[in-house]
Amino acid sequence: MYFKKNFNKSFNILLLRILIIFVFILVSFFIIIPLLPLFLKSFSDNKNNFIGLENFINYIQNPSLTQSFINSLKVAITTTFFSVLIGFIYAYALTRTRLPLKKFFNTFSLFSLYIPPLAVAIGLIYIFGKQGLITQGFFGTIPGFDINLYGFNGIIIGEIFYCFPQALIILVSALNLSDQRLYEAAESLKASPLRKFLTITLPNIKYGLMNSFFICFILSFTDFGVPKVVGGNFNVLATDIYKQVVGQQNFAMGATISIYLLVPSILAFLIDKNFQKNEASLISGKSIPFKPRKNLIVDSIMFIFCSLILILVIGVFSSIVLASLIKIWPYDISLSLQNFRFSNVAGNGYEPYFNTVFMSIYTAIFGTIFVFFTAYLVEKFKPLKKIRMLIYFFSTLPIAIPGLVLGLSYILFFNKPSFSVPFLDFQIFNPFSLLYGTMGILVLANIIHFFTVCFISATTTLKKIDKEFEEVSESLKVPFYKTFLRITIPLSLPTILEIGSYYFVNSMITVSAIIFLYPAKIPVSSVSIVNMDDAGDTASAAAMSTLIVLTSLFVRLIYEFTSRNVSKKSSVWINPLET
């Protein structure tokens, strides 16, 4: 009866479906599927015979190994408690008080994000170690004080350094969402400061608080760098895996311990996810941001507290730099650059450093493209809802996968040239095995290791961009990819730069994900820090750490400069009333 227009099939929707499925396959192969060989390995002996739960039973019956599990839990719980506490007080000072020099405290609080945990541990050695500045009373000028660095104490101090800024970032953004009107209403009802804190402040930040507990727990439960350097005889799961795999080539036991490391992390992840599900913003768009009042006592206490934290952070950093510049600590304290030659260290010279820089650049470029595109497909379109939800879930998972576990699972997955199909005498070529032994696998491991934070930040930004832009484009017959390039990317540029710099800095400082993966012909600097420290060449390790920190800071400076330019350019788009 009517002319049926023969154009019901849309090329764009087809393309979109293909892209979503393609991304789904990629995230499956990079995140989920590599874990399978790890699980299989934990049920096998080293000759790949299936032995059921024997590895797990052996593990439980070995008192020194079970002790590590308890030690890891102790470290994680203690670190989490102190990191969140310090992070909360610092964040509270930044957001809810009239702290003097706020901008300064704000900038430098995140300084320790650029110091690899390995380097923090090395810095601690120079302050609290046997020959440390404080232990020896500044080269004997004042009475010394020994805190027994090697062992539990050292690990806790190092982990707090590492975890506290992570908690701080989350808590600052949680505390920033506030509504002055709620406090005014409470005041008009004569509520005490404590009551206001318990009934307004705390309920408002409970999701952020929970999230910071979760992040600190996982980071400190699974960290390898700090316990490796200052752990002494205090064994934790992460160092055990390293010893089993690198020391004894016992992959089966390494895989088994990985499961013991993975399960609590995944559990914490699921608890947090379940908790965050109920999150509903208590702060409406009309809310008026909280304006702290002057309070001499509180402001002074906060000033002293924040200053102490910063002095420690800067002290650790300075001691790393100092150690790298001093000829032979503590016997010849004249300054020299000889530690920066790296000539006597396995002959690799500057190669590990440049490898790491290139690895970080590749990670920043490919990681940012991949993560942003994934978030875009998940967030902006309607087709294949179930698959998009799965991609979302997979993308949030890497934060719960410890770097060592990721690295080990990547070895087991990517070194297989082919898979055998169960029950059939049939082999499938594994195309991803081509990456094995190349820089590619290091870049991929880094991209996945830090995927979740980048993915969440991309998603958050994309959510803020009006969904109707895509609909308008459709009505104007403009294909989605043109709108993506011309509208979505320019509007997201600040976040894209942020993700790139996050990837760069973290790839510079990471050790756990790549320590099993780096090919012998591609040495990387964080591994060489471990090796130099193992060989007793701590000064060179400090020198390499200094290089890493300075490079990260330099890139961060470039980022700040670029993003300031971008925001200057885009300021004309933003309504002056909103800023």
């Binding site: 019901n8 849309s10 929707i13 109707e468 009505s475 104007l476 509007l491 885009s570």
Partner: protein, 368 residues
């Protein structure tokens, strides 16, 4: 007034239904839109009007039914293959493009040479009166100007159909009424078939050739603004378009009498209703008179003795809220010209007699 001579059905909506799982959003919608017509979908929030608009655009897919546009079946066509332009409530202007670039966005994707795009964009800027603002970014424009850019952008590809989703609700009252006239003028000038969604009955009545009143997923009534106001066919339409008092009672068809509590009202309406029980008498507040003097009251018909409960000043008129002594909770609204209230010195608590104009009384079936 409904349709011009020779105008034809441009858009046919046939038996459209939409449900999300178990819940029905739209149920069996039938609607014809004529070429060059300005049609409003009017209803309270949640009535399905925006969903219907999105189904017409293809941004949402119907569960059942067909859409025919200009003789072509488009029920399953993707959005990008349909012939329409749309303006959203938020305008959705691209913030990083200036006014001119926003308008040209769809044109640049076509294989048209740059001169032609330039010419067409300038024409559109002139049409909406923004020639001077072509280089401004959306954030530098006022709400009304942004709205005009969105309108020009929607018209850039010369669509056969213009869809407006609450286009004026983000603007303040003065700009809104000015833009109402402008949109209407442009629409008539281009003879552009237009469907606008709104929840504002004043907007619908002042702009539309025909209004579709929607209620909980179905069409309650379609008609010109005049028809809807004068002859609403359901109590919902009666009370949504303007204000109407609804009194529940019984109707005696033989004698043309409506019984409300102890009162009887004569009805002149020649109604086909034959029921007796459960019927609603409807009368608009302006169709009730205040009887000042009690002389010869016995001879008057349709009189009620009421007490004034509230007096609300609305400018040229006062709206009185009155109640019967026997039924204090049921409010009746009466609109009175301001001078009358002042000269009679009406106060809260006064008793007055009101008269329901016989010829203005409507009767509705009550489903309560």
């Amino acid at each position: 007034m409904i349709k011009k001579e020779g105008s034809f059905k441009y858009l046919e909506i046939k038996n459209i239904s939409k449900n999300f799982g178990e819940t029905f959003v739209l149920k069996n919608i039938h609607l014809d839109v004529f070429k060059g017509e300005f049609l409003c979908l009017l209803g309270p929030s949640g009535c399905g009007k925006t969903t219907l608009l999105r189904i017409i655009s293809g941004l949402e897919r119907q569960t059942n039914g067909d859409i025919v546009q200009d003789g072509l079946l488009i029920s399953n066509s993707p959005t990008e293959k349909r012939d329409f332009g749309i303006v959203f409530q938020s305008y959705a202007l691209f913030p990083n493009l200036n006014a001119k670039q926003n308008i040209a966005y769809g044109l640049e994707n076509k294989k048209i040479n740059k001169k032609e795009i330039e010419k067409r964009t300038n024409n559109l800027l002139r049409l909406v009166g923004l020639e001077k603002y072509s280089d401004q970014f959306p954030s530098q424009l006022s709400g009304g100007q942004q709205q005009r850019v969105a309108l020009a952008r929607a018209m850039a590809l010369s669509p056969g159909l213009l869809l407006l989703d609450e286009p004026l609700s983000a603007l303040d009252a003065q700009v809104r009424s000015k833009l109402r006239n402008e949109i209407k003028l442009i629409q008539k000038k281009l003879n552009l078939t237009t469907i606008m969604v709104t929840h504002d009955q004043t907007e619908a009545l002042s702009m539309a050739d025909r209004v579709v009143v929607m209620e909980r997923g179905h069409i309650a009534q379609i008609g010109t603004p005049f028809e809807l106001y004068e002859n609403p066919i359901t109590p919902f339409v009666a009370d949504f378009i303007g204000k109407m008092n609804l009194l529940k009672g019984k109707y005696d068809k033989k004698n043309c009498v409506f019984y409300y509590l102890n009162n009887r009202f004569l009805i002149s309406q020649n109604t086909e209703y034959s029921f007796l029980e459960n019927c609603l008498l409807g009368i608009r507040p302006e169709d009730i008179e205040i009887i000042k003097f009690r002389k010869n009251i016995e001879k008057e018909e349709n009189i009620l003795r009421v007490k004034i409960k509230e007096i609300t000043y609305l400018g040229t008129i006062f709206r009185l809220t009155v109640v019967l002594e026997s039924k204090l909770e049921e409010n009746i609204f009466v609109d009175v010209i301001s001078n009358q209230v002042i000269s009679n010195n009406l106060k809260i608590g006064d008793f007055i007699d009101i008269k329901l104009k016989k010829e203005k009384i409507k009767l509705f079936e009550s489903n309560l």
